[in-house]
Assembly symmetry: C2
Homo-oligomer: 128 residues x 2
DNA sequence: TATAGTAGGTACCTAGAGGAAAGTGACTAT
DNA sequence: ATAGTCACTTTCCTCTAGGTACCTACTATA
């Protein structure tokens, strides 16, 4: 049995095996979830179109998908008002709010170290 | 001019506009980078095959790609020893080490809140 | 009459990431 | 002579996330 066979045997769900924080990363930092959570966090309760306009380039299909996912994970609360035209509001849940210090931590790291990454990239690109 | 045209006009590079931490998320939490950084962080300096075996399901092609990216971003240091057979060692840089408290913070959140996400998912799935 | 606003749903399609498998080069051990 | 080690590289192929465009139902407005 070759290496490839062994690798294929345990495939599909895998990075989690090596690293206990992969699950959280998948939940919180998958594509589009960060801008959505951030917008909800800084501007409070909002309607679908407000989110759409603030994020700017997201398509309604993807926004719906990501909001459903965040709602299922308990990070976002969706409130439907059966009016005409329909009104739906999204807000961060308490569980979602527990991510705030983590986001602040990330913003701190960004402020203090992001330019070092930029410099490293320039150095790497110029030496080759 | 329809909505779609306006949306397409500013497309391509975008989530960063709405959210100041998107750049960091792209650098640190893109696919495979978290397990790589975590393995390097917990097991110290390692060779290519050790990383490959510890992560388990990553292919050499992707591992090379991600390591190059992490090296370019200054998070990982690569040391090449021109021997036969060749020996290459990878370790976390000082910049990469500055992520340690952030990773600890993530592990904390995971330990205290991951089961709440699980419960929210079960609740959501059973009520539909 | 027709258009806009609201919160999506649905069908189709493409680009690109990632996986599988084989190759490379230089040397060693059997 | 063959196989193995290491750190990749290359080629091919698949899969799916995401984009485009169009659809719903209902009302207010021009």
């Amino acid at each position: 049995m070759g290496m490839e066979t062994m690798r294929a045997a345990s495939a599909a769900t895998a990075p989690e095996l090596a690293c206990p924080i992969s699950a959280v990363v998948d939940i919180v930092f998958s594509r589009w979830t960060t801008p959505i959570l951030w917008t909800l966090h800084t501007h409070g309760r909002q309607r679908f179109v407000e989110l759409e306009r603030r994020i700017g380039t997201i398509t309604p299909k993807v926004l719906t998908q990501r909001l459903r996912q965040l709602e299922r994970d308990g990070l976002v609360v969706r409130t439907y008002h059966p009016e005409v035209p329909p009104r739906v509001e999204y807000e961060i849940s308490e569980l979602g709010r527990s991510l705030a210090p983590l986001f602040a931590h990330l913003a701190d790291w960004s402020a203090t170290h992001l330019d070092e990454v930029e410099q490293a990239r320039h150095a790497y690109d110029s030496e080759s």
